[in-house]
């Protein structure tokens, strides 16, 4: 687990704090690189659900990208826990699991959007923009 820099203020505009949860390093870094939103500030990345919970408590993010298939605690469970802690959190599910039941389950637990793996930078940016609307 790596914690990001402290939250910076951006021209008076409130910066939203982003947390990335994915068990794959590549995916984590890809999302990191692609998030080009001025209002987003990465506060940390986690490789599984348990790590995500801990990091969430410490950094209190506003936006989370969440993988579904992860060791220890999967994304679905983690979404429910995060929403319980902070109902206003916006969660983007980023997963290769394209089946409808998983999608409905994640939405029901409180996810706000979906992005299917693999994705292009553009798809990612659009998904995050949609999430923050």
């Amino acid at each position: 687990m790596r914690n990001g820099k402290a939250v910076a203020k951006n021209g008076g505009k409130r910066t939203l704090k982003l947390m990335i949860v994915d068990d794959s390093n590549i995916m984590r870094r890809r999302i990191e690189r692609s998030q080009r939103f001025e209002q987003l500030e990465l506060v940390g990345t986690a490789g599984n659900g348990l790590e995500a919970l801990e990091l969430f408590k410490k950094t209190d993010p506003d936006v989370v990208t969440m993988d579904i298939t992860m060791p220890q605690m999967d994304g679905i469970e983690c979404i429910a826990r995060l929403v319980a802690m902070k109902p206003a959190v916006r969660i983007l599910v980023v997963s290769a699991l394209a089946d409808k039941a998983t999608a409905v389950e994640a939405m029901e637990r409180g996810a706000n959007g979906f992005l299917n793996k693999p994705f292009t930078d553009r798809q990612l940016n659009e998904a995050i923009a949609e999430l923050m609307r």
């Binding site: 794959s24 390093n25 995916m27 699991l97 089946d99 793996k117």
Partner: protein
Amino acid sequence: MLYEQELKTFVEGTTNFFEVAAQQPASIGSPYLMEGSPAVHEYTGVINISGKREGVVYFTAPKAMLTVLLMKMQENDFSHETMKDLVGEVANTISGNARRDFGRDFVISVPSVLSGEKPQIPQKPGVRSFIIPINWRSHSAKLIVSLT
């Protein structure tokens, strides 16, 4: 007997990954059949399938190919772990595609990643595998579909 659509779903899952993640499409080479365990490259992502069909589907790629792929993805960490991650993601995409198309009939496992030239891939005896070369830039990987 495997259906064309089933094979296509696996193939598309694989080529799609290259197209989307590296912005450079992969093409498929000349497919063929093989009995017994086919030779694999350094990194292999495996998904197990049960239900209407039983067996394994795996993507195996040489390190050189993965390195270039990572470079195209603007990744600068070429460690063993990252390579495994990458092959895992490809397998993940194949698994996702298969779930989308045959979720009703198949039970598809979460991918596992193996490395080394002689990994133990549980293969049913007497099952002919479909070997589909995946060509990308000057490199070649293999998608192996071994189902009954």
